[in-house]
Symmetry: C2
Subunit: 391 residues, 2 copies
Amino acid sequence: MSAAGERQLTALSELAGLVAGGATRRSQLVTATGLSRAAVAQRVDLLITKGLLVETGTVATERGRPPLALQLASDASVVCAVDLGATHSTVAVAGLGGTVLAEATEEIDIDDGPEAVLSRLHEQLGRLLAEAGHPASHVRAIGIGVPGPVEASTGTVIRPPIMRGWDGYRVPAFFEGRYDAPVLVDNDVNMMALGEYAHRPATAHLLYVKVGTGIGCGIVSGGSVHRGATGAAGDIGHIRVPGHDDVLCHCGNTGCVEAVASGAAVTATLREAGLPVEHVADVVRLVQAGDPTARRQVRLAAQRIGDVLASLVSFWNPDAIVLGGSIASLHDDLLADIRAAVYRRALPLATRTVAIEATILGRRAGIEGARRRAVQHLLSPEGIARILAAR
Amino acid sequence: MSAAGERQLTALSELAGLVAGGATRRSQLVTATGLSRAAVAQRVDLLITKGLLVETGTVATERGRPPLALQLASDASVVCAVDLGATHSTVAVAGLGGTVLAEATEEIDIDDGPEAVLSRLHEQLGRLLAEAGHPASHVRAIGIGVPGPVEASTGTVIRPPIMRGWDGYRVPAFFEGRYDAPVLVDNDVNMMALGEYAHRPATAHLLYVKVGTGIGCGIVSGGSVHRGATGAAGDIGHIRVPGHDDVLCHCGNTGCVEAVASGAAVTATLREAGLPVEHVADVVRLVQAGDPTARRQVRLAAQRIGDVLASLVSFWNPDAIVLGGSIASLHDDLLADIRAAVYRRALPLATRTVAIEATILGRRAGIEGARRRAVQHLLSPEGIARILAAR
C-alpha cells in the first residue's frame, strides 16, 4: 500500500475511534483532528457508505435544523466475542458500542480437538446471532480467547500444555468462508488482562494474574498486550519459589509456583490431609465455610504467589495487579497475604503506587477482553482497510 | 496546542527522522510519507531555515543540475552525551548523525552532591565543546545517565541508594541559562540498554543486565525504555534467590541477588576466604589469572543471576539479554552458567529465540545510549516544537 493510502487509513481509524469514544458531531471531529471541514466530511461520508458509522437526526426544534448525531453503526454491524476454556465456551454477540445483545455459556471439552470444538462454537454463535436478530453477514470481527499459547499475528495455537490436538492449528482458518470478518485469537489470560485494563482508565501498566487450576498472567502496557518475542510472555506458572525443591511440577522441573500454590496444588494438599476435595471449587467452598486447614493452605499459597509477584513488581513496576481466576472469589483470604509478601520484598519506590486488587469483571473478564479486541481491530487502520476493500 | 499544530510537528518529526535514517532526496521523502512535493518542500525548507537540516549540492555533471543531498545539519548543531557514574564522568560531544567529535572521562565523586558534580561536568563539557570547535549555542540536546532512579519526565533524582545529596534534585534545572537545549536525564542502566538496543536492529525486546558493584537492568521494548509506574522498573537487585536467607542485604532484607551475586558480594566472599581483593577489579584480575577459588565464586554468582533471569524470561519473553557492567569482561566464565540456568528453568517456548550475550558496546554503552536519547528527543515532535519556538 502507498504511504498516502496508509495515511488515509490512519485518518479514518482516528475518526472512527473518536466516534467510538463519544464524539457525535462533525464539528467535534474537525476540532479534534485539525482536518478541514471538507476533509472530515469526505471521510465521514466514506465510513457511512461503508456501513461503519451512521448519522441520525434528532427532533427538530424552533431554532432550526438540529445537528445530526454520529455514532457507530448498530443496525447491520456486530462483533462476536468468545472465551474458550478447558470445559466451557462463553460466546457473546455485541454492538460496536459495547452493548451485549446475546450471550451464553456451554460446556465443552477442549480436548475434543479444534474441529469438534469450533464446530460447536459455530453452532452456538449461529443461535446467538439469530437470538440477537443479526445474520452472519453483519459480523464485523470475532475475538477469541483460548486456554493456551497463541501466535497472535496468525491466530495459531503453539505447543499448548492442555488443548489436545490443537498444536499448530490456525484458528482463523476455521472461520474462513463462514464469516467475512477478521478473527483475532489470543491467549485467554491476555484477553482477561485487556478486559480489566479497559475498565481501569487510570492504569498504565497492568498485570492480570489468573489463579485457577494453573497460574498465569497477562501483561498490558499503554493499551497493548505485551506478548514478548515468541508470544510466551506472562507464563509465570513455572517460576521457582524458594523452599520447595522437593515438589515435582508437571513441566518436569521442581519448585514451580504452579506446583506449589495453584488451585490444583492446594486441592492435592488438602486431599492428602484427608479433606473431601476433588476440584478447586471444593476448596473454595471449604474456605468459605471457614475450614481452618483449607484457609491455612490458601494463605500459604497466597504467600508463595506474593513472593513471585514481588519479583515481578521489582522488575516491571506495574501500577495495578489484578487477581482473577476460579480462586479469586477467595480474595479476602488471598489479597492480604499477597499484598504482605509484595510490600515485604519489593522496593518502596516500586510499591509506592501499586494497587493489588481482585478482578472487577470476574468471569466476564475474558469475554469482555475478546469483545474489546474485536472492536479495537475493527477500528484500526488494518480493520478499516478490510472494510473499504470488502464492500 | 491545536491538533493541526500537532499534526504539523508529527510530519516535521517524521521527515527529520527519515533524513536521520538515510533519506537524502526530497523525492524519497515524497515516496515515504505520501505527502505532495509541495508539502514536503514547505516542511523541508522550514527545517532548513530552523537549522536542523542542510541541503548540499554535489558536483555538476554533463547531464545537468545534480540533485541536492539532504542531511542533518552539522555545522552549527551538536548533542552532548553524559555518562555519570559513582566515580567517573564520561562526556561526549557528537554530531546529530552520530559522529563523536570529542570525548573524555574524568574521575569524580558522586557523593560530592549535585552542584559540585554538575559544575565540574559543565567545565568538562565546555572544554570538549572548545576542542570540537562548537560554542554552547550549538548544543541542541543533552542526554545524561545517572547512577540512581530518575523521574524521567522531569529529570528528578528520586531516593537514590548512592548519590548522597541528590534526592529530589532536578538535574535539568542546573543547565537552564547555561544551554538553550533540552536535558534528558535517565538512570544509567536505562541509557545503556538503549545504547545496546540501537546497535541490535533485529531485536524487539531487550534486557540489559548490569553486574558491577550492584545488579540492575534496563528494559527496552519497541525502541522505548520501559520505566513502569514510578520509574522503578528494572530494579532487579533485590529479587530474592533461593537458599540464601542467611545473607543480609544493605536494603534490610535477606537473600537479595545483589547481596549474593554482585561484584561486591563476590569480592567480600573472596576476601573472607583470605584472597587479596579490595574491589571488583581485583576479582576480575584473579579470574583472568585462573585462580580456581575466584572462578568458582564467579560461576556460583552467575548461576544465581541466571536463576533470576530465568524468572524474567518466563514473565517477559525477551529476544535478547545483554550482560554488561564491570564484571562483563568475565563473560566467558559468566555466560555459560547464566545460559545454563535460564535454559534449565524457563519454558522452552520462552527460550526458543532468546540470545544471551555480552555487551557489544562495553563501557561505551551508557554514553552511546545518552547520545541516542538526545538525538531521539531532538527529532521528536516535542524537540521540533522547541526548535520552531526558539529560533
